[in-house]
Symmetry: C2
Subunit: 247 residues, 2 copies
């Protein structure tokens, strides 16, 4: 058997999104029995301070928690790390500098997936937390691959934020879906050729069949990248660089 | 806020059962936001050798893998451990002796839950791997609480084993459910007043509404015990003893 890598998941932001990533890693792994699956270590510390509050409202800096969790994963034997929280990627540079193992970027992986899906210059709509939108995580990553990121109007953004908060409180009801859909429709009306469910809570309430354009799920993209890198230790893997994984 | 404990999950046996336990821990935790949830560390190493093969067919001893995983969890900061694999509980004594933190017993927790559900001496049907059945894990635990464990006939047991193998290969289809149900019906016909889905793969294909008697899910029982112990560090928690948790 080819040498494998152990996946470290820096999770808990929120817990359901972490469980969702783990299930998508399992589903993306070709397996007939337990032993075909990959070694996954998950550190889910939900006490990490709110990422959007830190970015926008002067809330406590989550970086010490994120670095501590990443170090626990490295110490426990993870060969690389994935982070199932888009907003936490605003702090990715600092975390990468603090740990000895590479960290895949969910944002960069998703931008690469969009670039394979859309023609150059095409607009893609970003559904994300106010924090992710404000710091321009996806706007920057999409520009780097020649795509045009469009974000919701301030009013539509409040619906996205409310839907995300509902999921974090365990509410996966149709009402939450409908709030997210209002913003989705606005982005499609403004020309988006694809939508990105760019907060890990959103794929839990938004399905591809709910929207009239392709819906890209960064959690699924990240799961596939993690499985690709973990199943064959010969696949190049470098930390600290955009688009770390290009097998 | 009351001091909390960090939950360590010794998982991967199989991966889907580990994801199921994590989701049941999340669902059992009263929470309105990420920060209300519990710190969970999961070590899911699916390369642990097959537990039933070791118990019945001279396969490799999984104990070194289980001990290594439990030690990683303790080193990473877990305050206690839960193991979402019933058959692995055949090796519980050795693992408990090897780590400095307590390990809850899913088998003992489930026996206690059954004792609260059934009158003294009542028969309960055990759906489990051939390994769990052969070493008498549930027969012993139920006898200790004054209940009568009934196990499937050899023919019905082959259906249970086939259903479990299907889930481990990712097959959650109705056909798998039907195979498990054949054994369930046999146990009910032989007087079982409750059924225990005593392999962590079984709750993924067997629902309470599928069977005519109460169906006890040890994964859910373990999740509730873990949340109870983790949410309040004042709740007594001793390792190495049966019924470790009696708040």
């Amino acid at each position: 058997m080819t040498a494998r890598r152990t996946i470290g998941v820096l999770g808990g932001m929120g817990p359901l999104a972490t469980a969702d990533l783990y299930q998508k890693i399992i589903a993306a792994t070709p397996a007939q029995r337990d032993q075909d699956h990959l070694h996954v270590i998950i550190d889910a510390d939900p006490t990490v301070p709110d990422r959007t509050a830190a970015l926008l409202h002067g809330g406590p800096d989550p970086t010490p928690w994120l670095v501590a969790g990443a170090r626990r994963l490295a110490a426990a034997g993870a060969d690389f790390i994935v982070i199932p929280c888009n907003t936490a990627h605003a702090f990715l540079g600092t975390i990468r500098d603090a740990v000895p193992i590479p960290i895949l970027s969910m944002v960069d992986e998703t931008a690469a997936a969009l670039a394979a899906l859309l023609p150059p210059g095409a607009p893609a709509g970003i559904l994300a937390t106010a924090g992710t939108v404000a710091v321009g995580l996806y706007q920057t990553a999409l520009a780097a691959v020649g795509l045009d990121a469009r974000v919701p109007s301030p009013e539509a953004q409040t619906h996205v934020d409310a839907a995300i908060a509902a999921v974090k409180a365990g509410d996966l009801s149709r009402a939450s879906t409908d709030r997210a859909l209002r913003a989705a429709q606005e982005l499609v009306d403004r020309g988006a050729r694809a939508l990105v469910a760019a907060c890990t809570e959103l794929p839990l309430i938004l399905r591809p069949e709910d929207v009239p354009v392709p819906l890209v799920d960064p959690t699924a993209v990240l799961a596939q990248a993690a499985v690709r890198v973990a199943r064959d230790a010969r696949v190049p893997l470098e930390g600290g660089t955009p688009h770390a994984v290009r097998p």
